[in-house]
C-alpha cells in the first residue's frame, strides 16, 4: 500500500524529464503503467476471504504520528476506483490532449492527485488523512487551472480551492478534537472508543466540523457551487476528479467515521437532509444547463447527494446501496464525461443548443451515451446497473424499521417523495442530455468543423466503462459477496448480505416508484421547453454563487483597505511602526519580568573629566537636531564621535579610542565630500503634532535604552566569559593585547566576515559612483 501511495509521486519526479520526449512518444504512455499496476495489485485482494489488514511505518514517533495504513472493504473499493478509473482516464487523455499541450504539467498534477487520493483512502492516521486530503484539493486546483490562460479556469480553480480548503481546515478542527478526546491518532482506535467520544462535551463540534469537511469536498448543497465551475478543467480531469474520485472523498469521510458519527440523532437529519436536498436541487438545476459538462456537473452533485442521503439512513440496505451506487456512478458517469469530451473534441463546442443529430456522425459515441444516460436515469432494463442501485435507493428511502421522532419523523415521511422528485429530474436531464446531443436536427451552421467519429483510442476507455455498466447490470451479484459486502461491512460494522434482484414482484413499492419516475420523467422531458420558464422563478436570479462572489469581493476589498491604511509608502511611517513595536515589547517585558528595582552599589566613581566630556556630548547631540546648517551638523556629529573617543581613553580602551579617532576623522571627511552634492538642510515645516509625536517616540526610546542598560547592569545572571580570554590570551593566542587576540584569533571568523561586509559596502559604493546607466543623469 505504501508503494501504491508513493509510486505515482516517485514517477511524478521524473515527469519533467520524460515529457521532453513528448513529441516522439506521448508522456501518457509512461504514466499509464502506474495506475494499471496498482489496479492489478489491488484486484488480487478482492475475494470472499478478504479481511482487513493494517501496516504501520514510523513517521513522527515523538508526536505519536505514524504512517498507519489500513485496507478494508471500503478503502479497497475506493482504491480500485482510483486506480481503475485512473488507468482509463490516462489512456483517454493520451488521445484527448494534443502533444503541443504542456503534458509534463498535466501528468505531474495528475500523478500527484493519484498519490494524494490513495493516501486519503488508505490512511488510518488522522494527520496522514488530513495531509493527503489537502493535497487532493491542491492538485485539483492545479488541474482545474491547467488551461491557465482562460479566465474561467482561474476563477473555477480558485473557487474550488477556497471552498474545499475551507472545508479541509474545519475537518482538521474536527480531527484535532477527536485526537484530544480519544488520545489516539488512529481512526480504528477512535472507532473502538466511540462511547468516550459520544459522551464527551465536544461531540457536537466534532460532528459539525467533520460534516463541513465532507460536505464541501463532496459538493453538497449549498457548497455545491464550486463543482460546475470546476468543469473548466480538461475533460479527463473532470471525469476523474470531479466525478469518480475526489468528490467522493467526502462520502468516504462520512462512511469512514459513520460508526462514530451515526451515534448522534443529528446524523440522520443532517446527512440525509442535506443529501436529499442536494439530490433534488442538483437534478433540478441540471435541466437548466446548456453546457454538456455543466449538466454532468449538476448530475454529479445530485448523485453525490443521493449517496450521502443513503449513508445518512444508515440502515443495512441503505449502506449497501450506497456502496453499490458509488461503483455504478463511477462507471456510467465516467463514460458520460468521456463522451462529452469526445463531442467537445470533435465538434468544438459543448453547448447543447448548438448540438443535435450527431448520431449519424458518431454512432459509437452515441451508443455509449445511450447506455450511460439510461443507466443514470435508472431506466428499468436488466442490463443497466443504474437501475439496480436506484431501486435499492427507493427501497432504502422508504425507511422501514426506522423509528425516530420529532423533526426526524417529518423528514422520514417526506424523504420517499423527495427521492422520487429528484429521480424524476434525473430522468429528465438524462434524456435531455442524450437526445439533445445525438438526436434531433443537425445544426450545421453552428459548428465550425464537420463532426466525425472519434479515434479508436479515445473510445476504448468509455467502452470499457460501458461494458462495466452492462456487466454489472446483467450480473448484479457478480461482485456482491467478494467485494461490495466487505465495503458495506466496514461502514456498518456488521456483516451485510444482500441479493440484488431485478424483479421483486408486483408487491414492491420501489417498482411503482420507478415506474412513476419513468412515466412522469418522460412527459416532462418531452415537454421540457414548455415548462422551462419555471427556472426564471426558481431559482431566478438567486444563486449561491452570488454569496460566494460577494464574500470573496468583500474580503479582498476589506483587506485592501486594511493594508492600504498602514502601508502608506512613507518610510517615516514604517520607522514609526517599528519603533513603537519595539517600545511596546521592551517596556512590556521590563514590566512583566523585572520588579523595576535598581540595586547596584557597585558603581565606578564619577570623575570630573568624564562629566565634562559627557555634558559636551549631550549638548552636541541635541544640537544636531536644531542646526539647519549642513557643515555645522556634520561638525557637531564629529564632536560627538571625538567625545566618545575620549571616553574610550578614560575607560581604558586604547584600541577603541584609536579606531574611533581614525574612523571619525574619515567619516567627517566623507561627509564633507558628499554634502556639497546634497541639497541644503531645509527648515522643518512640520506641524506641532508631528514634532510632538517624534519627540515623544525619541525620548521614550532613549529612556528605554537607559532603563535596559541600568536593569541589565543591576542583574547578575551568570558569570561573564571574559576571564577566559584574559587567562588564555597569551597561552592560546600568543598575544598580550587581549582585544586584538579576541579579534584576530579567538573570533577570527567574525573578523573575516566583517571584512567581507566592508568589501561588499565598498563594491556598492564604487558601483553607485561609477555606473552611469541612468536615464536622467547628465
Amino acid at each position: 500500500m505504501l508503494t501504491a501511495i508513493f509510486l505515482p509521486l516517485i514517477l511524478a519526479c521524473f515527469i519533467p524529464l520524460i515529457s521532453k520526449w513528448k513529441y516522439s512518444i506521448h508522456t501518457g504512455w509512461f504514466v499509464l503503467i502506474i495506475p494499471f499496476s496498482i489496479f492489478v495489485y489491488l484486484i488480487q485482494q478482492v475475494g470472499t476471504r478478504f479481511s482487513p489488514f493494517e501496516k504501520t511505518y514510523p513517521w513522527i514517533p515523538s508526536m505519536d504520528i505514524h504512517f498507519d495504513l489500513y485496507l478494508d472493504g471500503l478503502s479497497l473499493l475506493f482504491g480500485l476506483l482510483i486506480s481503475g478509473i485512473g488507468t482509463l482516464v490516462v489512456l483517454y487523455s493520451i488521445y484527448y490532449l494534443h502533444k503541443s499541450e504542456q503534458l509534463g504539467h498535466f501528468y505531474l498534477y495528475l500523478l500527484m492527485f493519484m498519490s494524494a487520493m490513495f493516501g486519503v483512502v488508505f490512511s488510518d492516521n488522522v494527520y496522514v488523512l488530513y495531509t493527503f486530503w489537502e493535497l487532493t484539493s491542491l492538485s485539483s486546483f492545479l488541474l482545474i487551472g491547467y488551461w491557465n490562460h482562460r479566465k474561467g479556469s482561474r476563477y473555477g480553480a480558485l473557487k474550488s480551492m477556497l471552498i474545499t480548503v475551507f472545508g479541509g481546515l474545519s475537518m482538521l478542527g474536527g480531527l484535532l478534537l477527536l485526537t484530544i478526546v480519544t488520545d489516539t491518532t488512529s481512526i480504528q482506535e477512535m472507532i473502538s472508543q466511540k462511547e468516550t467520544i459520544m459522551n464527551s462535551p465536544q461531540f457536537g463540534w466534532i460532528i459539525a466540523f467533520l460534516f463541513l469537511g465532507a460536505f464541501t469536498k463532496s459538493a453538497q448543497f449549498p457548497f455545491h457551487i464550486w463543482l460546475p465551475d470546476a468543469m473548466e478543467a480538461p475533460t479527463p480531469v473532470s471525469a476523474y476528479l470531479h466525478s469518480a474520485t475526489m468528490v467522493k472523498a467526502g462520502i468516504f469521510l462520512i462512511a469512514r467515521f459513520s460508526p462514530i458519527l451515526s451515534q448522534s440523532d443529528w446524523f440522520f437529519i443532517i446527512v440525509s437532509g442535506f443529501g436529499i436536498l442536494t439530490l433534488c436541487w442538483g437534478s433540478f438545476m441540471a435541466v437548466r444547463q446548456t453546457d454538456l459538462k455543466g449538466i454532468l456537473a449538476y448530475s454529479t452533485i445530485s448523485q453525490l447527494g443521493m449517496i450521502m442521503a443513503m449513508l445518512g439512513f444508515g440502515t443495512k440496505i441503505a449502506v449497501f446501496a450506497a456502496v453499490f451506487h458509488i461503483l455504478n456512478h463511477a462507471t456510467f458517469k465516467g463514460s458520460l464525461f468521456m463522451v462529452a469530451g469526445i463531442v467537445d473534441h470533435e465538434t468544438g463546442t459543448r453547448d447543447i443548443r448548438k448540438l443535435g443529430g450527431l448520431m449519424t456522425f458518431m454512432p459509437i459515441t452515441a451508443t455509449l451515451a445511450f447506455f450511460g444516460t439510461f443507466s443514470m436515469a435508472g431506466f428499468p432494463l436488466p442490463f443497466l446497473n443504474g437501475f439496480y442501485s436506484k431501486e435499492l435507493f427507493f427501497d432504502a428511502a422508504l425507511l422501514h424499521h426506522f423509528s425516530v421522532d420529532g423533526f426526524a419523523q417529518l423528514l422520514k415521511v417526506i424523504i420517499p417523495y423527495l427521492a422520487v422528485f429528484g429521480s424524476i429530474f434525473t430522468f429528465v436531464y438524462s434524456m435531455y442530455l442524450v437526445f439533445g446531443t445525438f438526436r434531433g436536427e443537425y445544426k450545421e451552421k453552428e459548428l465550425k468543423t464537420k463532426p466525425h467519429e472519434a479515434p479508436i483510442g479515445m473510445l476504448i476507455s468509455p467502452i470499457v466503462l460501458v461494458l462495466g455498466v452492462i456487466i454489472i447490470g446483467l450480473f448484479p451479484n457478480l461482485f456482491n459477496e467478494s467485494f461490495l459486502a466487505h465495503a458495506a461491512q466496514s461502514i456498518k460494522g456488521v456483516e451485510i448480505h444482500k441479493k440484488i434482484k431485478f424483479w421483486h414482484g408486483f408487491n414492491s413499492i420501489p417498482l411503482y416508484m420507478s415506474l412513476a419516475v419513468v412515466a412522469i420523467g418522460s412527459i416532462l422531458a418531452y415537454t421540457r421547453k414548455r415548462w422551462s420558464s419555471v427556472y426564471n422563478v426558481i431559482p431566478g436570479t438567486l444563486s449561491f454563487n452570488r454569496v460566494y462572489d460577494w464574500l470573496v469581493d468583500k474580503t479582498t476589498a476589506y483587506s485592501e483597505v486594511v493594508t492600504e491604511s498602514y502601508m502608506s509608502g512613507s518610510l517615516k511611517h514604517y520607522v514609526r511602526y517599528i519603533l513603537i513595536a519595539i517600545l511596546v515589547v521592551t517596556f512590556g517585558t521590563l514590566w512583566l519580568t523585572t520588579d523595576l528595582t535598581i540595586s547596584n552599589p557597585d558603581l565606578a566613581s564619577i570623575g570630573i573629566p568624564d562629566m565634562l566630556v559627557v555634558s559636551m556630548m549631550v549638548i552636541a547631540s541635541v544640537a544636531t537636531i536644531f542646526t539647519n546648517n549642513r557643515i555645522a551638523a556634520i561638525l557637531i556629529l564629529g564632536v560627538v564621535g571625538y567625545g566618545l573617543a575620549i571616553l574610550f581613553v578614560i575607560y581604558r580602551a586604547p584600541d577603541l579610542a584609536l579606531t574611533q579617532l581614525i574612523i571619525e576623522t574619515v567619516t567627517v571627511a566623507l561627509f564633507l565630500l558628499v554634502f556639497m552634492h546634497l541639497p541644503k538642510l531645509e527648515k522643518r515645516n512640520e506641524s506641532k503634532g508631528t514634532v510632538f509625536f517624534n519627540a515623544t517616540v525619541s525620548i521614550l526610546f532613549g529612556a528605554m535604552m537607559t532603563f535596559v542598560a541600568i536593569f541589565s547592569y543591576s542583574s547578575k545572571w551568570f558569570e561573564p566569559i571574559s576571564d577566559y580570554f584574559l587567562e588564555t590570551a597569551v597561552s592560546l593566542g600568543g598575544g598580550h593585547n587581549v582585544v586584538n587576540v579576541i579579534l584576530v584569533d579567538m573570533r577570527g571568523l567574525d573578523t573575516l566576515f566583517e571584512i567581507a561586509v566592508l568589501g561588499i559596502a565598498a563594491l556598492g559604493i564604487y558601483g553607485m559612483i561609477k555606473l552611469r546607466r541612468d536615464k536622467g543623469e547628465k
Partner: protein, 112 residues
C-alpha cells in the same frame, strides 16, 4: 558613573531616533551615526567601567577591564563606518538622480 553613561547612551539614542524620523536623507544618516555611538557606549557600560588596567597583559598586573565589550565595539565601529559611508553615497546618488533628498518625495515606484 555607569548610570551617567547609561543616560548618555539613552540621550544619544533619543537624538538619533529624532533625526531618523526626519525627512532629509542627511539628517537620517546623522541619526544612524548617533545611534551607533549610543550603542557602543551601551556595550562598553555593560562591561563595567574603570575596573583595572587596560586589557594588555603585563606581568604583575592582576586586574584588567573587561576585554570582550571592547572587541565587540571594535567590530561594530568598523561596520558602522561601512554603513555610514554606504548610506552617504546612496544619498548622494539618490539626490543626483531625483534632485531631492526628501524621503517624502522619493515615495512610490515607477509603475505608479
Amino acid at each position: 558613573m555607569e548610570i551617567v553613561t547609561s543616560i548618555l547612551s539613552g540621550i544619544l539614542f533619543a537624538t538619533g531616533i529624532y533625526n531618523l524620523l526626519q525627512k532629509q536623507l542627511l539628517r537620517i544618516i546623522i541619526g544612524t551615526a548617533l545611534m551607533s555611538h549610543g550603542a557602543h557606549l551601551f556595550i562598553l557600560t555593560m562591561g563595567k567601567l574603570k575596573r583595572g588596567k587596560p586589557p594588555i597583559i603585563v606581568e604583575g598586573v592582576e586586574n584588567y577591564v573587561d576585554p570582550l565589550p571592547q572587541a565587540l565595539i571594535l567590530t561594530s565601529i568598523v561596520i558602522s563606518f561601512g554603513v555610514t559611508s554606504f548610506l552617504l553615497v546612496l544619498a548622494y546618488r539618490a539626490s543626483r538622480l531625483n534632485g531631492t533628498d526628501n524621503m517624502e518625495e522619493l515615495r512610490g515606484n515607477e509603475n505608479e
